[in-house]
Symmetry: C2
Subunit: 217 residues, 2 copies
DNA sequence: TCTAACATACTGACTGTTCAGTATGTCAAG
DNA sequence: CTTGACATACTGAACAGTCAGTATGTTAGA
């Protein structure tokens, strides 16, 4: 305590940084609603007053974190996909790999996006709108790649693109969550290999469409 | 109000039923923590005291709902898979179809399982233990089928079974969530078709393993 | 001195849980 | 068939705790 005080501007930066880091950690671990402002302040080595000095509300804190997340994650994804070769299958493989890399490099930021969209999914308000906008950007990227693969004839064209995109996205989010929860019992690199294989195979044009007889019921 | 009072036993049944249905609905819509006991009671047309007359605690209510869910979901899955033909690919297809059917027939019960396991995933306590036990049963079924497919030579053997099972499970849970949130823009049957195709293709032995060059970095 | 950057103390609202009291159902004795 | 003793199914209020947000005090930098 009573750390040496820096210049005001430097102090401002480090305090804001400390608060956001603490909030990110706690939001991811306990959820937004289950995290009190007091605990955020305490974890950042500050008081509740400091939180409200820098942020208008608890939601504003989450808002700031989501902004950061969008910059880190979506922008990276846009650039990576755009910079890849022209083949749709390469772009999809890159989508999986980039998600995985981000998950290893900056798991909390990825988790915050996924968990928040679950926690807020049936609440109205600015946070939900923000999350929807972020996911919309991700879906736009994905759907473009899938469409590309269809015109290239490497992805099956008998299913709606939004449906395929939803499965890819949900599969990746869900798998990442599962990996995060069971890091000990799940091997990361193997998981990425398997996920990439499943994603590509699931999108690819059939090489043996046969057992299409009605099953179950 | 002042409804005609039934016999004690009948009254007990209808009240308990009303409370559990209300709780299921609200837990799924708003989450466990965000649902107050008052709102449950109100939705059931009773008072808060009535909740505590029939249940020891709010958690006990969730406990009861999870018990019901396990009976409906896991038992059904066990029987369906066991009753299928000997081919692992058929059993996997049946796994997807059964999940989908359950999702259509009784979405709330499926959702409660998925959402609760997310909400409680890093909390200790009886609820989390219960959820882990339920999921463990599901994973056991899945892993058995995958192992079977490997011995039958139809599923790829170069990946750990738990990894493959995690992807299948996460993909299904995630896809179901996405479908539930976007019923309007996602066609259910097509989603099931696509998911079944992706699951089977992702597990199947490679027919063209080639582009295994290291990508990204 | 003035003000940015906090800390402290507090408010009002909401929460899960408990409980005394009441209205109604049940059932055996007379 | 009535009645009294009891069990069941609640209600309404209160309690202790927690929380987001606010108002105000304090101190160090400019």
């Amino acid at each position: 305590m009573a750390a040496v005080r820096k210049t005001n501007q430097a102090q401002r930066e480090t305090s804001v940084e400390a608060l956001m880091q603490a909030a990110l950690r706690l939001f991811v671990d306990n959820g937004f609603d289950q995290t009190s402002v007091d605990r955020i302040a305490e974890a950042a080595g500050l008081s509740k007053g400091a939180v409200y000095f820098y942020f208008d509300s608890k939601e504003a804190l989450l808002h700031g974190l989501l902004d950061q997340g969008e910059n880190v994650i979506v922008d990276r994804m846009v650039k990576t996909i755009a910079g890849a070769g022209p083949k749709a299958s390469d772009k999809i493989a890159l989508f999986v790999n980039t998600q995985a890399e981000l998950g290893v490099t900056d798991p909390d930021r990825v988790l915050l996006l996924i968990l928040s969209s679950l926690e807020f999914h049936n609440k109205d308000g600015a946070i939900n709108q923000r999350l929807r906008a972020i996911y919309a950007r991700m879906y736009a990227i994905l759907e473009d790649v899938i469409e590309l693969g269809k015109t290239q004839g490497v992805f099956r064209g008998d299913l709606p693109t939004p449906v395929q995109a939803a499965i890819v996205m949900a599969g990746h989010d869900g798998t990442f969550l599962e990996w995060y929860r069971r890091k000990d019992s799940l091997d990361g690199p193997e998981l990425v290999r398997a996920l990439r294989a499943a994603t590509l195979a699931g999108l690819a044009t059939d090489k043996s469409e046969k057992s299409n007889k009605r099953r179950a019921k």
